[in-house]
């Protein structure tokens, strides 16, 4: 169960890393792109920024939902002590 959780965690982590990395690199190497207003007259900098925050919450909820089934209630404290 522990292994399964950490594998799900890593997959979601990589998804977010790509989104965040894209944002940072776009800001650094093509700041003009961030000034474009693709939707509702709001520029990409704001849309992408809000998108990242919302994506974080969505991925977090997804993780919580995927990890839920059959989690053993007993903690494994003591294994390494």
């Amino acid at each position: 169960m522990e292994k399964r959780n950490s594998r799900i965690g890593l997959v979601l982590f990589v998804i977010y890393l790509v989104l965040y990395g894209g944002f940072v690199l776009l800001n650094a190497f093509s700041p003009e792109t961030m000034e474009k207003t693709p939707m509702a007259g709001v520029n990409l900098a704001i849309l992408y920024g809000f998108g990242l925050i919302i994506a974080a919450l969505v991925l977090a909820l997804l993780y919580g939902w995927l990890c839920k089934p059959a989690e053993p209630e007993v903690t494994e404290r003591g294994v390494n002590e």
């Binding site: 979601l12 650094a28 704001i46 989690e71 209630e73």
Partner: protein
């Protein structure tokens, strides 16, 4: 600006402090054992722990620093919001559950779970202390900054009050009281930020020629300028001698070039507003500046005006504000002694929309996206500042920067982020480095990590992180509205960007100002108590017990932890007073860099790599910590802001260490682990 303590402010503040202290004393009996003191017996419900994460994490820097930065420069402050939140993804997906499984009281416990080594405890304990102290300084400075306008006290009063209240909270019931104070603060901060955001949207935008005190900032012009030739500019730059006229530099973004113009004093004198005044020739350090000082013949008062224009347009002259600290230490405003009551001379509040789309002068209520769309197509007056010292003392000129809304909403306007608009790739490293440190730093902050021990199991750790991400993410979205709302509220204090959010509330009403200021104050309380608890844990649990091998029974352990809390609190008070002039948000970026460089490599490798050794962990933490600290101490930012030296003499090429020192920490850890690896499993 002149701040007067109001009844509302004092009352709300007193109530907040009273509730916090009462809560601590009420909970005092629940933390008699070390398990109670450090981890609240692991019995905090996950939802409460999640909101307490927000209370722990959303520091004065998040609330005051980010809002202030957005209010003065626009979008760039929001980059911090995004980076700070992104770090939580690392915390949730990578660190949360193993941290909970491996550790007991402190971050060092988790690192050391496999090896039981004094060296690891020592290195991790010291890095916890270093990061926490770095983080404490800006929080304490923030407390001092707040208390001045709120209650009319001196800076050091604020620092001492916060320090004392926090010590009482931490000593009375350790993690139990700290958690509930953070829960309270987290909820209040998010709820009232939402209230303030709704009020901003309902108010909409309104054009105005001046700030909240109805002072109209005058403009005059156009005035002609003459272009300096390239050789001429070179000559003046080499000799350091400039003519006695204002010199204006205009940048052309299309060609990435700057043209230098001179403006004749006689031309300025001829403008209608100045017929009864004398235009003073710039002397000393006032030369080679885009400013002109004009003396009123009747009153003798001198005002400063800035000269600005864009490529292709005529130059205009705008009224600026001047604040002088004389060599005798007196504060002058526009050349006259600053008053201390309303109506007497003071700097005017600023921050206005100067033009709205379709020639309107008022928008009425706006939707959440309509808010940005409207601002995108408007013009705003931002304010910049330059310090000039002459025989009369040190003067700071605050001048208008008419800025299109589309620029306010794009990245790269703040000097710290201006590198991303430059051509050379090396200029972009500072930005990349900061964004990397923010991403990696959150999951390495000791005061955040210890919160994983306050819940009962790994599942609760996970759930509380999700609640934390929800509340913190929601708050960070609001920071953009709060910052831009403050920018256009007409209430900004040009001398103090940290006051942007409370002053925005003041432009709504006096009670809201009192509440927001008191919340900002509890913000400091919540974060500082978490930091002190983390430091006290490092001192008593890691350093004294594990490294010095002093046996303590449970009661003694709690007593030592309480003494450590008082000492760390005392140190924090001292540092808060010493570093009172530093900008709050800027030190926090460093704390993240040190945390990420020292702690993250060890955390990640222990979790995911079987080959890690005891020596590797010690080396990784030590090298990561010392290299990032050394980098910071040798950077241009520290040279200018702490040592008062020029930025050019700095030794490292950019200020943010993360992009170099985080990989360095990883490489050291892996190389040393490989070198010290033994064929048998006898290295435990």
């Amino acid at each position: 600006m002149i701040y007067e303590a109001t009844f509302e402010a004092v009352a709300v503040f007193a109530v907040f402090v009273a509730i916090t202290l009462a809560l601590s004393f009420y909970l005092g009996g629940r933390a008699k054992s070390s398990k109670g003191y450090f981890t609240a017996h692991g019995e905090i419900p996950w939802f409460v722990n999640g909101i307490a994460f927000a209370g722990d994490y959303l520091s004065a820097a998040s609330f005051l620093g980010i809002c202030g930065m957005i209010a003065f420069y626009g979008y760039d402050g929001f980059l911090y919001s995004i980076g700070y939140l992104a770090g939580w993804i690392v915390a949730l997906f990578v660190v949360a559950e193993p941290m909970k499984r491996l550790g007991k009281f402190t971050f060092a416990d988790a690192l050391d779970a496999k090896f039981n080594s004094r060296g690891i405890k020592l290195a991790a304990g010291i890095s916890t202390l270093a990061v926490s102290i770095f983080y404490l300084i800006p929080q304490m400075v923030g407390a001092g900054v707040l208390i001045q306008p709120l209650l009319g006290f001196e800076h050091w009063h604020g620092v001492v009050i916060v320090g004392t209240v926090v010590i009482i909270i931490v000593v009375s019931a350790g993690m139990v009281s700290t958690t509930w104070v953070q829960f309270l603060k987290g909820s209040l901060l998010v709820i009232f930020s939402a209230v303030l955001t709704v009020m901003i949207l309902v108010r909409g935008f309104e054009t105005s020629p001046g700030g909240g005190d109805r002072h109209v900032f005058a403009s005059a012009g156009p005035v002609g300028g003459r272009l300096f030739s390239t050789e001429n500019v070179k000559q003046h730059e080499e000799s350091g001698h400039w003519p006695e006229v204002p010199v204006v530099r205009l940048e052309d973004p299309a060609t990435n070039s700057t043209s230098v113009w001179r403006v004749e004093l006689a031309d300025i004198q001829q403008l209608p507003p100045f017929h009864e005044s004398t235009v003073l020739p710039p002397e000393g350090n006032w030369r080679n500046k885009p400013f002109v000082r004009i003396q009123n013949n009747a009153t003798g008062a001198t005002t400063v005006w800035s000269i600005a224009g864009s490529q292709g347009d005529a130059l205009m002259i705008h009224e600026a504000q001047l604040r002088t600290i004389t060599s005798e230490g007196k504060e002058l405003v526009n050349g006259v002694l600053k008053g201390d009551e309303k109506g007497e001379p003071e700097l005017h509040p600023v921050g206005t929309v100067t033009r709205l789309p379709d020639g309107k002068d008022k928008t009425g209520p706006l939707g959440p996206l309509e808010f940005f769309r409207t601002l995108q197509n408007s013009d705003v007056a931002l304010w910049g500042s330059t310090t000039i010292s002459d025989s009369g003392g040190e003067s700071t000129v605050y001048f208008q920067k008419p800025t299109p809304g589309s620029h306010v909403l794009r990245p790269g306007e703040h000097p710290r982020f201006a590198g991303i608009r430059k051509k050379e790739p090396v200029e972009k490293l500072n930005f990349l480095s900061l964004m990397l440190a923010l991403f990696c730093g959150t999951a390495s902050l000791p005061h955040i990590l210890i919160r994983y021990y306050t819940v009962k199991d790994a599942q609760s750790a996970r759930k509380s992180t999700i609640v934390g991400i929800g509340s913190i993410g929601f708050f960070y979205i609001l920071t953009l509205y709060l910052g831009l709302g403050a920018m256009t509220s007409g209430s900004l204090d040009v001398t103090n960007s940290n006051m942007a959010a409370p002053l925005l509330a003041k432009s709504m009403n006096e009670w809201l100002f009192a509440i927001i200021s008191a919340i900002a104050f509890t913000t400091v309380l919540g974060t500082v108590s978490g930091l002190i608890l983390a430091s006290a844990g490092a001192v008593s649990h890691d350093l004294i017990q594990s490294v010095l091998k002093i046996e303590l029974d449970d009661r003694q352990q709690v007593r030592v932890a309480k003494i450590a809390s008082v000492v760390v609190g005392g140190v924090a008070i001292l540092l808060g007073i010493l570093f009172q002039d530093l900008n709050v948000s800027y030190l926090v970026g460093w704390a993240f860099s040190v945390a990420a460089s020292a702690n993250l490599p060890a955390l990640v490798t222990i979790l995911f790599w079987k080959g890690v050794t005891r020596q590797g962990v010690i080396a990784g933490v030590t090298v990561g910590m010392t290299s990032s600290l050394a980098w910071i101490l040798l950077s241009a930012d520290t040279f200018t802001k702490v040592y008062g030296l020029s930025a050019d003499s700095a030794i490292v090429p950019f200020s943010q260490p993360g992009i170099v020192t985080i990989p360095l920490g990883f490489v050291t850890l892996i190389v040393v682990s490989l070198l010290t690896r033994q064929p048998s499993r006898a290295d435990g």
